[in-house]
Symmetry: C2
Subunit: 158 residues, 2 copies
Amino acid sequence: MPIVRHPANLPADLVIAVAVAARPLVMVWGRADAIAQAQASPPQLRALVVVGHHGSLNLNQLADELGVIPSSASRLCDRLVAAGLLDRKVSEQNRREVVLTLRAEGQRLLKTVEHDRRDALADVLHGMRPGARKALLSGLEAFAEVAGQMAEQDQWTA
Amino acid sequence: MPIVRHPANLPADLVIAVAVAARPLVMVWGRADAIAQAQASPPQLRALVVVGHHGSLNLNQLADELGVIPSSASRLCDRLVAAGLLDRKVSEQNRREVVLTLRAEGQRLLKTVEHDRRDALADVLHGMRPGARKALLSGLEAFAEVAGQMAEQDQWTA
DNA sequence: TATTGTTATACTCTATAACTATA
DNA sequence: TATAGTTATAGAGTATAACAATA
């Protein structure tokens, strides 16, 4: 069940308006992933993002972050290794663990996705008035700050 | 290759800032889908959204909108019908076609997702200052308008 | 003959359960 | 014995190719 953090109600209209207005942004955001799908499936791409973010991690950590069980993550890694995107080695410290890192090709793919995403966003931003761009950026930043605070809180409570 | 619509360059910093700031919004947006995953897989949910949006369509139309081939869409429908979420009947007008419509259960699921999405957004919006909320909304609406115009253009050019 | 769907087959993603190897 | 991964098996999602039914 969701925790209600702010008892005071917002006008439902505002929430609905934001939900409606946010959809195109979310769609544009997803375009880069659609393009990258030619090189790696969505689950594979998510795994690469997680590994890239950590630099190096073991299989259970990866499975945790992906929200899948280790078995599924192991199979996913099989294919990423076979595709030359991921490196999987036995850990020196603990020979039960594996060390997962990105290969150069995997890093390159992530860069491409990020670049494509910015291109897709820039394509729309170009067509906006400077004032609207400013409003969007400041609004998104405020949203991000609150969402970040809430995520932190959840770490303590969870 | 992406079409460059606005030769004049934006400051790269602005695009990067938007890309960074937009991520939490995209993540919050996706929460509702993660919850709904217990009732229907992501592809199934996407299919339900398309059918719900059209009210009624045939298999090729569904496949087109999902970006999959008819064969895949047919199998997807098999499972949605089996799950009691979708109705598939032979068309009266053209007995080659099928008519896909949502069952009550499918409609209910879509409502739930939409509601959960608004809840997740409202949760963050509550924590924002009124001015920031206004900026976010107006910025998103401006973005949506430009994105919409570009999508229209693409229909003519494609 | 062209259009609309479905079926056969194969590969990816995922979970459950059973297993191996290391600590 | 507990922990870290892998493998066997099975169902979902997808594409390619072959097929059936209708127009």
